[in-house]
Amino acid sequence: MPVDIFFQLLINGILFGTMYGIAAIGLSLIFGTMRIIFIAQGTLIILAAYGSFWLFHLWGIDPYISILLVVPMSLILGVALYQGLFRKVARAGQFPTLLIAFGLMALLENLMFVLFTGNSRAIAIKYSSYALSVFGLNVSFVRLVAFAMAVLGTAAVTFFLKRTLMGKAVRAASESLEYAMLVGITPHTVNTVTFALGMGLAGLAGVATATTYAFDPFSGFVFGLKAMIALALGGMGNVMGALLGGIVLGVVENYGAFFLTGGWADVISYAVFLLVLMFKPEGLFSRDTSAKL
């Protein structure tokens, strides 16, 4: 294969993969404190994508400006969702929480289908087709911006976790909820925080999706699965790992799509996913192999 195509695919894969990565970081945060894999994440990303889309189509708000609206709204939505839906069952274990997430996913998908129809949407704006030349390779402008958003989002989350007291509380609770309670950390508090953050990241991913991708109400399910694949690859409870997992997935997908026709690329992704889950659930990048899992 010609070298430049090799690198082209690589770059695109990395750029694209970071979007899976931030979705995966959101999942990782929620998993850390609530111990469930929030399967409705993908659908919420699409909800945010619709938000950005309609803000653009109805009021002409530039998608990158819409971030200022979509992300805060997502944070608030996260708090509302946790307090409204999950708080009650948080103590009851994984079973009810997983099922509520499942119900939420089904509800939102079909709601969006009814409200927005099943037609594919995408934001087509003047810079959608811009391309930059980086090291002689063609790099799509919108993908580059999506990449930047993902990097910034990751940096923000990392800063939060490492430098703020609440962030440290989240890390502590993720390691051991019981020990965290002994220093006065309340489960509901950290759950609300991680849930809100997870939704905020979903909001960011949603805007990125809307600018780079065509989507419809049911794309969320697949996107969510891909985010989970990224999470599984990168290992739970690991922000950088989640991002890397997303990148790996993006790259694998991109090469796969190039070499294999049509749907086989997806099959490979899922197969890799299932294999990782079955045989190496702590992920490829996890530094922590303790029995925490």
């Binding site: 440290k168 509380a169 502590a172 020990y179 309670m181 002994l182 220093v183 950390i185």
Partner: protein, 240 residues
Amino acid sequence: MANLLLDVSNLNVFYGDAQALWDVGFQVYEGEVFSIIGSNGSGKSTILRTVTGLLHPSSGKIEFLGSRIDGKSAMRVVDAGISLVPEGRGLFSAMTVLENLELGAFPRRCRSQKRESLAWVFSLFPPITTRQDQLAGKMSGGEQQMLAIGRALMSKPKLLMLDEPSLGLAPLVVQKVFEIIAALKAQGVTILLVEQNIHQALRIADHACVIKTGRISMMGTGNELLTDPEIKKAYMGSLQ
């Protein structure tokens, strides 16, 4: 007459359908060291976990400084001024020494005094001062114990509870731990101690009780129990 700090009466605690504590009761006064001794599985940890709010009793009363705390959440108990160093130390091993200590001051009332508390803890435990950025999980047993106690002290508790602080530590380190407990007592910290190391626990205690399969079987001053022939026979074996 010293203040009554902790008043436990008629405590019954269940794990699901299995009863772990029967009618447990004792009092802890301000400024003293109170030891609860017993063998493995006797219910010692259960008492502490119930006081701290991780478990709720099915009946009975726990009063701290006159107000009831049984059935309250762990957060409220910590807020009220009780800190527990659990069995196994309860450290966040993936976080640094400093971060662990900072989290000790998590309750709102403690946050403004964080610096002071840190200074106090460092003065008590010089070895961890130099290792602030080290991961808690990478420290030796003795250092971890010091860190755990230090973290509990960050919230300036009125009552410090220690669950088997000597567990898994070498004899010399155990000695150090009990010296620390004595030093804390000298600084006015009230301590509720749960131990399998009968000798040390009773030597340092003002008052103590023995718990056996979930029931208090003996109560008295530290000295009384230390010299009690039954205890000597049952627990101390060859120790004279």
